[in-house]
Amino acid sequence: MNTGTPITSDRRNGLGIMLRIVGRIQRRSALLWVLVLGASMIGTAAGVASLYDSPDKIHSYAQAVTSGNALLAINGKVEGIDSLGGVIQDEFGFMAAFLLPLLGIALVARATRREEESGRLELLLGGRIARHEPTLAALLVATATITVTVVLFAVGLAASGVPVAGAVLYALSLGALAFVFAGLAALLAQLTQHARGVYLWSLLVLAASYVLRGVGDATQTWVSWLSPLGWAEKAAPFGDQRWWTLAIPVAIGLALGVAALGLAARRDLGSALVHSGAGPQHAAAPMRSPIGFAAWIHRPAILGWLAGGVLLAGMMGALSQQLLGAMAGNPALAQALGVAGGRPLDGFVAATQLYLAVIAAGYLVQAIGTLRAEEADGRLETRLSGTLSRTGWLASHTLVVLGGLIMIVLGSSLVLALATAVSVGNMAELGPTLSSGLAYLPAELVLAGLALALYGLRPRWFAIAWAGYAVVTFIAFLGPGLKFRQWVLDISPTTHVGNPPLGAVQPSALTLMAVTALILGAIGFAAFSRRGVPQG
């Protein structure tokens, strides 16, 4: 038998081993997160610094975005917006509100419940790893990644000319935001049975936080204090600089983390609050057909992204009247939103459609990525050992994914049109809003084609599709507001659509993009029917 001392040293070794394992698993995704976040922040900061290079310009921007409550609800209420840092915080606010929580969620979910679900954790706990150590290691690695991101943020902001104290506090407030969600994901990983559940529940909490912060900021009440996004905002890095507010997310993140560790140490491996019960003995008839089965596989992705699109469209539509009023009172606001010129309402719909196109493109990349998972997990091999041909399999999935795309685009556009119509009191916008949504289809399909081609040629390269999507997102969200150079904007297919309904749709560009998407898709099909299955 061991005495006390060796056991403690064994434990310490266990954590060390676990840290190295989690570090190794997370190495690539953590690096990717840090790079994407760092590039987004530094790009935003540099863009804002060059665009608003005089106090006058900053002042007119501040005047514009603080007129009316609509933008407060979307981007958040930035205290001290009449400064370079304030403008950066306002521009980066919308992206930061979901990217940083996602950083915390993804890093922890990947290293905890996903490993447990796959059975790999069982292997480790069979060794000298204590039950709570995998969760602790996941939290420590996530915290380290967040810390690196914070340092990168602070340095990037300071380099762009933001005062150091404000830069540090802003970076810390964003890091603390990611930390709260890391703690939340760690706790949810103890309660849900699957990694998918961790994502689902933490994203619901994030959506609720966003709504609470929006309501609080629009109504100027204490409601914002209920939201982690509100805590980050109340730090007011470019206003009153309330350093003490950092204590709230840190304390709550720690509490969530400690609760997660306590549960991990006490609960059975593989246990969860809710277990799936018995199910049907037979598959429903539609599921037996290749298309029906593909629809079953893609249903969660279609519904999830549709919900995201509908929420965004509904929110933007509902705020449209307020935004239009604010724009009428202050032309600089339209400039800041990147919708100057033409009818303000058209500009507003155009800006929203660009956001919806980003959502639709994200759905496409994720849905096609599912095919890679089917293959990597070994299910494709079983699927193709029957009478279903490869082309038949890929074609039925492609059809379902395209059907889902149409549903997402039409559904979101319809909600946008209706919400706008109700808000503005004019039903005439329905047609143009729907057709402007559809005009983005070829641009979205270019990404789908890229994803299909990568899947067919070399599934291992699929990350390139996500990188392409990140570029499109970055350009779509920040390009118009920060006035990127034309050649940068031209990289993204969404630029070539022509910004309908504000601008005219470019038929030749749409045709060219549709042909490009078709060629890429054909390459994907041809390569897939020629390669071995499974292939990494």
Binding site: G279, A283, G392
Partner: protein, 318 residues
């Protein structure tokens, strides 16, 4: 020899992944109606062979035929006639076992509903449970039931009993025999000697992507050395030097000669003659066990030059 008699035929099959030669001139023939045991150590190329035969992977060179056609070009048509259990059974975690059976069955031409119900009962599977809640053995059962319920001419089973308990393994053997009586051909990749011995008519042993030996079990046995233990009244004449004799040990025990050696089956008769002349007191001739047969074939090293060295090393340490 007409090739139509062969359900599966490969000749000089090679498959190269980058720098790795997974298959290196593999020959395999499976005749109609037989259970063919397909044996080899881990990583010897069994699953790759099966994937090439199913048209999931394209051979680098060599011939691969399934029902006399090229599986790479005719995969979906040929798959109408077979059912497959993958080595690593992967199913959709959110589906129940019963739903999986239906989804898998939908890609087979004909599923015998009554046989399916019978199989669910024989394998004692709860089809209302989600796949994610199944143990490894239960997931294996789902794949086995789906394959055995299909009205297929050929069953391709890649290590089908991994994870099954001995009772279920027994059930599996009975079910395969039932299917064989209906004239179904079976390619059975396996590690379990007892299972192969119980089911297989012929076996092929492969190692490092190459066929080491193949034939009926009886023929394989007859090609392998038997162990002889004889007690004789006098010392047998010229036994150590006799043709076919190896590993010879001899000692005097209680006034009699105790001889132990191994013998090549072709020379058994001549050596027994010599023992007879020396006056046999007791005699046991042990044929090689199946395990020994496989171990001998598995154990060889890549090239002939190396193999000599390794055998000496193994003998020296033992």
């Amino acid at each position: 020899m007409t090739k139509t008699n062969f359900v599966i035929r490969t000749e000089g099959l090679t498959k190269v992944f980058g720098k790795v030669r997974a298959l290196d001139g593999l020959d395999l023939t499976v005749r109609q109606g037989e259970v063919h045991g397909f044996l080899g150590p881990n990583g010897s190329g069994k699953s790759t062979t099966i994937r090439v035969l199913l048209g999931l992977m394209k051979a680098t060179s060599g011939l691969a035929e399934l029902f006399g056609s090229d599986p790479w070009h005719d995969a979906p048509r040929l798959h109408r006639r077979l059912a497959y259990v993958a080595g690593d059974v992967a199913l959709w975690p959110a589906l129940t076992g019963g739903q999986c059976l239906d989804v898998l069955g939908a890609t087979h031409t004909m599923v015998n509903k009554r046989r399916r119900a019978g199989l669910i009962e024989r394998f004692d599977l709860d089809p209302t449970k989600r796949v994610r809640d199944y143990s490894k053995g239960n997931r294996q059962k789902v794949a086995l039931i789906a394959a055995l319920a299909a009205d297929a001419e050929l069953l391709v089973l890649d290590e089908p009993t991994s994870g099954l308990d001995p009772l279920m393994e027994q059930t599996f053997q009975l079910c395969v025999r039932d299917r064989c009586q209906d004239g179904v051909t079976v390619l059975l990749s396996s590690h379990i000697m007892g299972e192969v011995e119980a089911l297989a008519d012929r076996v092929s042993i492969i190692r490092r992507g190459r066929t080491v030996t193949s034939g009926s079990l009886a023929a394989l046995r007859s090609r392998t050395r038997s162990t002889v233990h004889a007690v004789t009244v006098r010392e047998p004449d010229g036994l150590p030097e006799a043709e076919g004799v190896a590993d010879h040990h001899q000692e005097w025990l209680h006034g009699q000669v105790d001889s132990r050696f191994t013998i090549d089956p072709d020379h058994l008769d001549a050596v027994i003659g010599r023992l007879h002349t020396a006056g046999i007191h007791t005699l046991t001739v042990t044929p090689p066990s199946l395990d020994a047969l496989f171990l001998r074939n598995y154990d060889q090293s890549p090239s002939p030059a190396n193999s000599g060295d390794n055998v000496t090393a193994a003998e020296a340490t033992s």
